[in-house]
Amino acid sequence: MRGYNFAYLDEQTKRMIRRAILKAVAVPGYQVPFGSREMPLPFGWGTGGIQVTASIIGADDVLKVIDQGADDTTNAVSIRRFFALTTGVRTTEETAEASIIQTRHRIPEKPLTADQILVYQVPIPEPLRWLEARETETRKMHALAEYGVMHVKLYEDIATHGRIATSYNYPVLVNERHVMAPSPIPKFDNPKMDHMPALQLFGAGREKRIYAVPPYTDVKSLDFEDYPFEKQTWEHACALCGSRDSYLDEVVTDDRGGRMFVCSDTDYCAERRDAGHVGTGAPVTYGADAAE
């Protein structure tokens, strides 16, 4: 793009971000402050992920961008176009083909490999933020590994609801040291982070923090011996590809409780359908009418 450097950021800025990334990789789960820049996309819309991607992307990379697991959601389209415009790299919708995958709110269903980097967009990097609003306090708590307050919160959930009621951005312990926010992915995706062969980088632009999970690192979702971590399950299979193992989106088909459950990972679903898998294609009825 005329007047702008490869991948928009100047080389000095990229170097600064790469230094932050190296530090983040060296201390898994630790939030490294960095001099986040204003990007031409708004804060809160993926600027952290965009800066991380911009500082690691090279001319030979193949980029995939997903939002809610889908390649065709408007913001994913917008970010993919931004990189196509500023770098000219090849973009793809196929998980296996990408060398860098930037994501918001999901981890692809297909297992990632050691040749790939997963870049998460992070709104609030601090897992303790809802328990303690002050950065000065939360930094101290991380330094002292003082995470009792988080366990108390989970315990209170169990005491009140009989279960841990957090369904996304479910806190994890990384490398047996730092409690980390996995970004608002559903807890369904948490187990995929554990010992993932791919490098996982997290960018929070507005909050100016970068953190990382190096390949093959312990990532444990917080729980209790008698209340072990559980991920979401569905009674239904994907209506399009029949998958029973994927995270499902609920699509409203009418105003009387009609619902259809389909894979949130569009590439995974399309690949299964291409391989001949089919779902029922039919909506199910859900809600008050169906309950009794």
């Binding site: 001099g35 204003e38 804060f43 959601t73 709110h105 369904s167």
Partner: protein, 363 residues
């Protein structure tokens, strides 16, 4: 058969075309020029330069035009451009004492050296809609005001007058070799030094600072302020190029400066004296400069040994929430799809409700 929604790309392109059309408005009327915006909507341009942290009237006017007059959007446009610019050096501190004054008032003295200069102010206008301005072209009644004439001689700052008597806290100049903090390069850390706080406030949203400053006047962290001095005019910007070793004048800026003087009854460490709050904006930004000075003083509670008890004195609360580019982005990101997380919540709520129902019927 349900087919997943496709076509985000086409929808975006169509939306952008619609936006361009709306921005242009009715083509029966001529397009507005950057010169017109810079000259006739100059206070909008000033605000965009201040909060956009880039002193360039033409680019700010372009941002206002492109943003359809939405100033927060214009500020964002200017910031995103600014961040790509190379950095040539750091200027010498502005000498606002040597300002070529267009406006200068003090609320603490009836008359003072350099006198009171009202300048181009809305103060004392009656806020009556002027229907002559509704006419196309230049109404006849507008005549050149006559050159007010810059006040040429060096006009001493009001706080310097108090300084002589030792009634106001000493302004301890920083070590000139100590680098000034820069939030655009280093993320905010706490406790934040005053240089960083002032930079944060200077870039901060005028509306937010206005409300915070106002809150200190209504008893939430009262600072008992007097507008010691407000001055607006042109100052020279000087740079010392390494190869020359002496200062070179590289241009002029119009700035508005406000120094608030605040009562202070003294603390365990400080005797009773007047204390200062400082505000500075690009261009004519008097309301912002005053609000900034109030908030600056409120945030100095820690160094003055005051117990912080109100929102305007809470460093983390204030400094993390001033930036309207960050705030606007994060508030509006709620428009982005969240259906994966919402689905997670649906699953959880359904399970919790099923268990609750079971408990009720089971017992």
């Amino acid at each position: 058969m349900y087919v997943a929604v496709k076509g985000g790309e086409k929808a975006i392109a169509a939306a952008h075309r619609l936006l361009a059309e709306r921005r242009r408005g009715d083509r029966a009327h001529p397009g507005i020029t950057l010169k017109q915006i810079a000259e006739q909507l100059s206070l909008a341009v000033d605000r965009v330069m201040s909060e956009g942290s880039l002193y360039d009237r033409e680019l700010a006017a372009l941002a206002v035009k492109q943003a359809r007059g939405d100033l927060v959007e214009a500020i964002f446009l200017l910031r995103a451009f600014r961040t790509t610019l190379p950095r040539f050096g750091v200027t010498e501190p502005l000498d606002t004492g040597a300002m070529r004054i267009s406006r200068r008032i003090s609320a603490t003295y009836k008359d003072l050296p350099g006198s009171q200069v009202l300048g181009p102010t809305f103060d004392y206008t009656h806020r009556l809609l002027d229907f002559e301005l509704a006419e196309e072209g230049d109404p006849n009644s507008v005549s050149a005001a006559g050159d007010p004439g810059d006040v040429d001689e060096r006009v001493p700052r009001v706080v310097e007058l108090l300084d002589h008597e030792g009634l106001i806290e000493k302004e301890e100049p920083d070590d000139p070799d100590r680098p000034v903090g820069d939030l655009t390069r280093e993320p905010l850390g706490f406790p934040a030094d005053r240089d960083v706080r002032l930079q944060n406030l200077a870039r901060g949203d005028e509306g937010f600072l206005l409300a915070l400053g106002y809150s200190t006047q209504r008893g939430f962290g009262s600072t008992h302020p007097f507008a010691g001095e407000i001055r607006m005019g042109q100052v020279s910007v000087e740079l010392v190029p390494e190869e020359l070793g002496f200062a070179v004048d590289i241009g002029d800026l119009t700035v508005t400066e406000c120094e608030m003087i605040n009562q202070f009854k003294g603390s365990a460490t400080e005797p009773p004296q007047f204390t200062r709050g400082y505000g500075l904006t690009f261009g004519e930004g008097e309301r912002k400069a005053m609000a900034m000075a109030l908030v600056d003083r409120a945030l100095r509670c820690r160094e003055l040994g005051e117990e912080p008890s109100s929102p305007a004195q809470d460093e983390e609360f204030v400094l993390y929430h001033t930036d309207n580019v960050e705030a606007s982005g994060f508030v509006q990101h709620l428009k982005l799809p969240h259906y994966v997380d919402f689905q997670g919540e649906l699953v959880t709520v359904r399970e919790l409700r099923a268990e609750a129902r079971q408990r009720k019927t089971g017992t």
